[in-house]
């Protein structure tokens, strides 16, 4: 056992234990660590946003390089503040409209290409899909899964006849998807816990390397 003499490791470890103390019940140590985290994060992000976004993307080009065009983003940015003044709060719609317009223009074609066209292509049965028998089998299962799941979300017709068993099959595929996601979520949370224990047992207490 080789306990750390680094003050920063001690602070980090004690704050971790403060957060862990919530396991038993809410207590002042937990609340102290929580508020400290929120405050530090807020301060960190304000400084970070200024140094990484506002300064290099607005202050430098506008005030140091004299690029007048940057007055437009400056005005749009200032207009966001108007939402705090009730008499002219409607003005905030101008920068929001600008952002929505730009965002939609960029996102819609990208989403169509990535999540619709490419995914439909990926679901199609081609000769390449059957180069190996197991690959071919999975491709057919995926195709059935996609069709059954889409039918489950088809609400324009009453669920009877062929639609009913296909929709029920869709539920099975959806549940399998949820199960996989939940399993991975558990794995993620355990990983985070392991990470903290590795830190406490390693750099802090020196029990493991």
């Amino acid at each position: 056992m080789n306990i750390s003499t680094d003050i920063l490791i001690w602070i980090s470890s004690l704050l971790t234990l403060c957060i862990f103390s919530f396991i038993f019940r809410d207590n002042p140590f937990y609340r102290f660590a929580e508020h400290l985290f929120v405050g530090t994060s807020a301060g960190y992000f304000i400084a970070l946003s200024y140094h990484n976004v506002v300064y290099p993307n607005l202050i430098v080009p506008l005030f140091k390089e004299g690029q007048i065009i940057y007055v437009i983003p400056l005005i749009l940015g200032i207009l966001y503040v108007t939402r705090f003044i009730p008499q002219i709060s409607w003005v905030v719609r101008i920068p929001i409209a600008f952002l929505l317009g730009w965002g939609s223009g960029v996102v819609i074609p990208a989403a169509l290409q990535t999540d619709v066209i490419k995914q439909i292509q990926g679901t199609m049965l081609t000769r390449v899909s059957f180069a190996r028998w197991d690959n071919g089998l999975w491709t057919i299962i995926i195709l059935i899964g996609v069709i059954a799941t889409l039918i489950f979300f088809f609400f324009s017709r009453e669920r009877k006849g062929i639609i009913k068993p296909l929709a029920n099959l869709g539920i099975i595929f959806i549940m399998l998807g949820f199960g996989a996601s939940f399993g991975y979520t558990v794995m993620a949370r355990i990983s985070l816990l392991i990470g903290r224990f590795q830190f406490l047992l390693g750099p802090w207490l020196g029990i493991i390397k």
Binding site: T114, G122, I190
Partner: protein, 280 residues
């Protein structure tokens, strides 16, 4: 208290204590459970392994923060070991502000182990805000987005980046992604438009979401969570790569035991619930 009530009302402190022990004990006394390499990990490993020595640089984007460090930082370390050992040039950047700190930490140690020279063998571009605009912008001209590197050196003055224009000069993009912006940003605004090869390492929470993109070939491979990191470390180890640390591999015993007890608790809780319902 009867058995059904005991089973369905285990105090949460008891559950936490058992979980803590299930994780701490294997970390101190490793069991050495076998690690199987999943196809999605193998695909990304093969994509990197098949790069020739004179390949165009690989762009690694650190799109994560310290909160997801246990899952993604081992991937970053293993990835840098792999690329430097293969003498592949590396560009490192971040779509998350804290990702730059993570990358800086890894780049302070790993390149030295392989005698890599900054500017010639690797360049650290740092963090840039506006993820979508950054990914789209690199497709047009890298130097418009990153005129200078993390240390404020102009990219034109660095031998590695002087001749890089856009994705055409990059052989593979790998996003180590903890959320948004992350691999989906690279898919949406980069891969779908500029058709470059894209691989990703993700936190386990997002792993299931990556499979459709893997199946359609939009992603060349995926490292899924800490397990993916351990599989990648193992693949490298089996191929003779010497990693300085194998944190994810060491954690796998704890991961397996933790999962085992969660399964036990789910089964026990459900048995208790069913018995209690039957007794009413």
């Amino acid at each position: 208290m009867k058995l059904p009530e005991i089973l369905s009302k285990i105090p949460r402190q008891t559950i936490y204590l058992i979980m803590a022990l299930a994780i701490i004990i294997p970390l101190i006394v490793p069991i050495g459970m076998p690690i199987n390499i999943m196809p999605q990990t193998k695909k990304l490993y093969d994509a990197i392994e098949s790069l020739p020595q004179d390949a165009k640089p690989v762009l690694v984007s650190c799109d994560f923060d310290p909160q997801s460090m246990p899952e993604l930082y081992p991937m970053l370390e293993a990835l840098l070991h792999h690329l430097f050992k293969k003498n592949v040039k590396v560009l490192v950047m971040a779509l998350w502000p804290q990702g730059a700190g993570m990358a800086d930490m890894a780049l302070n140690t790993i390149p030295k182990l392989y005698n890599k020279e900054y500017g010639k063998d690797y360049v650290f571009l740092g963090y840039k805000a506006g993820a979508a605009a950054v990914v789209l912008g690199i497709g047009d001209k890298l130097k418009n987005v990153f005129p200078a590197d993390y240390y404020n050196t102009l990219l034109d003055s660095l031998p590695l980046t002087a001749n890089i224009t856009n994705y055409d000069d990059i052989s593979l993009v790998i996003s180590l992604s903890a959320g948004d912006p992350g691999y989906r940003t690279w898919l949406f605004y980069g891969q779908s438009k500029f058709r470059f090869k894209l691989g990703t390492g993700v936190t386990a929470v997002s792993a299931a979401d990556t499979y459709p993109y893997l199946g359609s070939g939009q992603l060349v491979g995926v490292f899924a969570g800490m397990k993916g990191a351990a599989e990648y470390e193992t693949a490298l180890y089996r191929s003779g790569y010497k990693l300085t640390r194998r944190d994810a591999t060491k954690a796998m015993d704890a991961q397996s035991l933790g999962h085992f007890f969660i399964m036990v608790f789910i089964i026990v809780g459900n048995i208790g619930f069913l018995l209690l319902r039957r007794s009413k």
